[in-house]
Amino acid sequence: MISFEHVTKRYGERLALDDVSWRMDEGECVVVLGHSAAGKTTMLRLLTHETQPTSGVVTVGSFRSGRLGRTHRALLRRTIGVVYEDFRLLADRTVFENVAIALHIAGHFEDADVTPKVRRALQEVGLEAHRDLLPAELSYGERQRCAIARAIVNRPALILADEPTGALEPRSAQEILALLLRIHREGAALLVGTTRAEVAEAIGGRRLVLADGRLTETNGASPDAKAYMPPASSGDPAPPAGGTTPVASVTTAATAAPAVADAPAAAAPTPPPAPVAPATPTSPDAPGQPDLFTNPGGGS
């Protein structure tokens, strides 16, 4: 699904990634752990083709770095659900519209098509009751859940999350991680970039440790994990007491505590999870949600 082959990325004189090679299979869960400026965000930006490697090859499905035009780049991004630390929601649109925009971008405009999909996505993240609110009217946790709903509404085969809990207090962070894990268990591959060891432990899966642009792959808990814990004065909202609040006790959303004040809709009945499956392949010029693995346009 994803492969990095001897990828180096420089920003001028600064070396962001240094000869990094790794791969990730379909349906896998991988956490990229590293301190600030270690190269995590660069790695995720390379995956979405927001930037190009200085050398080496990045492959996502059948899309290879190097020669993607704007059309194919847009097509690639429609195949991936991305969750950002700062949510990146459209401020002048309601929760419903923020989620629906991902469907519109994929070429779905009819209400009969859009409304059920958006409602399902909002139900999955427990935000259906807030569908008519603007992002400014939501808590940070709810905003991130809205962003996750937007990321999953097209049923992508791959979810990228760049520090998804970075702006959240611990309780909301737990809920978001539980949500991401549930989405992963339903079939989507999950790639999370984080500076926090507790997030990596909560997510589980395979762990890649990045330090100064170099990669160390480990399995299971990293003995160096605490080296990446943010200091108490790091500026994160509501840092965990003592810096070691266990997030590893995350449960799936179906069993999450409904009494969480920040997530009033968490207890809302959640419909049976829809299978995460790649949609019908389309031509590069047509809107729609292409198959990550069969699009011919990305290969070079």
């Binding site: 097509l75 195949t79 991305v82 459209l90 925009i101 519109h104 971008i105 405009f109």
Partner: protein, 285 residues
């Protein structure tokens, strides 16, 4: 184009009313100038056409041309040059006499010195100076013809005036097209930059340039439509005001008015497409 894009255009319009209004006012100014010149051009053309209708060619016949020869000549003139009207020496003298007030002078002339002639109302395609010159040379080549007159200098000046007005209209048109492109480019650039963060989010979600650009293009076309209609209204009102003094001044025919609006909107469409392609490339990857 889906209604979604129209809703998005309306959302843009509401969010940036000030910019939209500035754009409409600027476009209206440029299009009003163009509209006024079109009205002027239309009226000059009408006047020239009226003058052109009076253009005729006089073909003087040699003395002693027989009736049968004259009939053959008349057929040739009708076939190739226009509608000939025969003026006999007697009729020519009568017309001349009407124009001369001094009766004693006329009585001093013993014999009628005027030749027979044909007055030809030329075909429309022969009304330019060059065509008339060529026609005169060809007609002079006929055996029965003594001389041909058509007021060459007068015709040349009319043609030059007509060409000058046409050139000025094209020049004004080009300036207005440039103004439309400039106004729309800068307005769109400001609007897109004001929404830069949102455009970047859409790009990261996989939106194509077309998806992002369509609402802006719709908005630009709507602004230009409004500006063109206001410009036509302004030109019409001015015509009404000036028309009080100049009774022959007419407004554009409705086909030209519709064409004016359609052309302005088409230019705005092309300008907006080009501008957005350029702007979106500068915004991001």
């Amino acid at each position: 184009m889906h209604p979604f894009h129209w809703n998005e255009a309306w959302r843009l319009f509401r969010a940036h009313r000030g910019l939209a209004l500035t754009s409409v006012v600027s476009l209206t100014a440029a299009l009003t100038l163009c509209g006024l010149f079109l009205v002027l051009d239309h009226n000059v053309r009408q006047a020239l056409r009226a003058l052109g209708d009076r253009r005729e060619m006089i073909v003087y016949l040699k003395d002693g041309v027989r009736e049968s020869e004259r009939t053959v000549l008349e057929d040739k003139l009708r076939q190739y040059f226009g509608e000939p009207t025969y003026v006999s020496p007697k009729e020519a003298w009568a017309r001349f006499s009407e124009q001369i007030a001094d009766r004693e002078l006329l009585q001093g002339v013993d014999t009628n010195p005027l030749p027979a002639s044909y007055h030809i109302r030329l075909k429309p395609e022969l009304l330019s100076y060059t065509a008339m010159q060529q026609s005169a040379e060809q007609i002079e080549g006929f055996d029965e013809v003594d001389a041909v007159r058509f007021g060459g200098e007068y015709v040349r000046q009319l043609d030059e005036l007509s060409g000058g007005v046409r050139l000025a209209t094209w020049a004004i048109g080009a300036i207005v097209v440039f103004a439309i492109v400039l106004v729309l480019y800068n307005t769109l650039r400001l609007t897109v930059l004001a929404r830069r963060s949102q455009v970047e989010i859409l790009l990261r979600l996989g939106a194509s340039d077309r998806f992002i650009a369509t609402p802006y293009v719709i908005e630009a076309m709507l602004q230009t439509s409004i500006a063109a209609l206001v410009a036509l209204l302004a030109a019409f009102m001015l015509r009404q005001t000036v028309g009080m003094r100049l009774h022959d001044l007419s407004f554009l025919p409705w086909t030209s008015a519709v064409g004016f609006v359609v052309a302005a909107v088409a230019v705005s469409w092309a300008a907006a497409q080009a501008a957005l392609a350029r702007i979106l490339r500068t915004i991001g990857s």
